[in-house]
Amino acid sequence: MTTPTEERPDAERGERRRTAFGLELSIDPRISIPELGCCPDSALTPPSRIRLDTDELYRRWHTLTTTPERVREIRIGETLLRAIDFAEPAGYLLWVRDYGRVLISPDGLELLCEPDPVNADWATILSAQALPLAATLRGLEVMHASGVVLDGMAVLVTGQSGAGKSSLAAALVKAGGQLLSDDAVALQLCDGALIAHAGSVALQLRTAEDERLSADERATLGRPASSVENKRRYVSNEAVDAAPLGCVFLLERSAEEPTVEQLGAVNPFELIASTFNLSVRTPDRLQRQLDVVSAIASDGLAHRLRVQPGVDASRLGTIVHEHLRREAVPAEPALSGVHSRRERLLEL
């Protein structure tokens, strides 16, 4: 049953419109997510609604007649850090230690939040976890990657945690790129072409690395935001729209000098492992995941980037930028083709 309040239009409720992970979002005015952009022209509609409504979350989850299934959990030792439970018809209940809970409807159209009462930054659970899950449920494929738009094409960097994805993204932003996302990028397959959508445009840099930057360099990264653990956060000042996917760099530690190699024969399982939300195992999603990985491989978008631990990120950014200019950026006719497919996507 809906209440009269729920039936009022968004503007009357004071809800704000944002875009992230390819979704148009309608956000409860009490929730602040500064790291989400507002370029709605390419986003999926209707909007996914994000509400602060503990009562409704309880009503839907704690009156279930079925036992929820634990579909994913992450622990350090005995300590549970994150869990996702699923039950019909309520959906996916995401819980993150010290951040709170978000109930995401099975169609990804509704997100009900129950924040941790003592964590002022609780809403980062939305951009970091809940929205990538909602995007997956709404038909996009989210990759665990940093992303930057360079010369009109999206460049993604995947790799293990701590491999230097954010550092390289920051270096590419300093070299003139626009941040697409720090940690997760939503991909949409449209007429065989992959479109990359912006996620959280807050870059998190390790403190030691941040201290090596000049004031001017920091300014290119955006405005400083609250820091977390040993990282400084910068929220991009520039809104960036979706862009055709141009390149995926698979970051790998190496003892040698940095090298870039286009992968003719990419291991598909390596790409599958770089996708987000392994908790969603519906047939539609699984097939889409394989289609997206297949498109990345068949379009020759995958590159291996081998780097030494501790290599200077700016130098790496220069190497990547030069490589892109030399080899990865398609010639003009192909680029035009991608753009025309993108334009068709935007018309849908």
Partner: protein, 102 residues
């Protein structure tokens, strides 16, 4: 369920069930069971055999062409093909088709 005899298997027509999809990559073919969510990897030769199995009227019909393609004896191809076919059947990644069904 008993494994089909060699002669039965060579005379059988096989296909991918509706819940199985596959995509070919340069060095691997990925076969995905949408019911279990399990991925399987096939090397290029096995991937080529799977492709041939889907198109041929029977498993045995693929042998001569594959033997010619790879330049090996038909007996060797038949052995490898039967082992692959049995493996795929056991994992539910292909199914046999009755003559009178589609």
């Amino acid at each position: 369920m008993a494994s089909p005899s060699t002669s039965d298997l060579l005379a059988a027509r096989v296909r991918l069930p509706q819940h199985v999809v596959h995509r070919s990559f340069v060095a691997e073919t990925v076969v995905l069971n949408l019911q279990t969510g399990q991925y399987h990897g096939l090397n290029p030769t096995a991937g080529r055999m799977l492709e041939a199995l889907q198109k041929a009227p029977t498993v045995g019909d693929t042998v001569p062409a594959l033997a010619g393609e790879y330049g090996v004896e038909q007996e060797q191809i038949e052995r490898d093909l039967l082992a692959l076919t049995r493996g795929l059947l056991e994992r539910g990644l292909i199914e046999t088709v009755d003559d009178d069904s589609d």
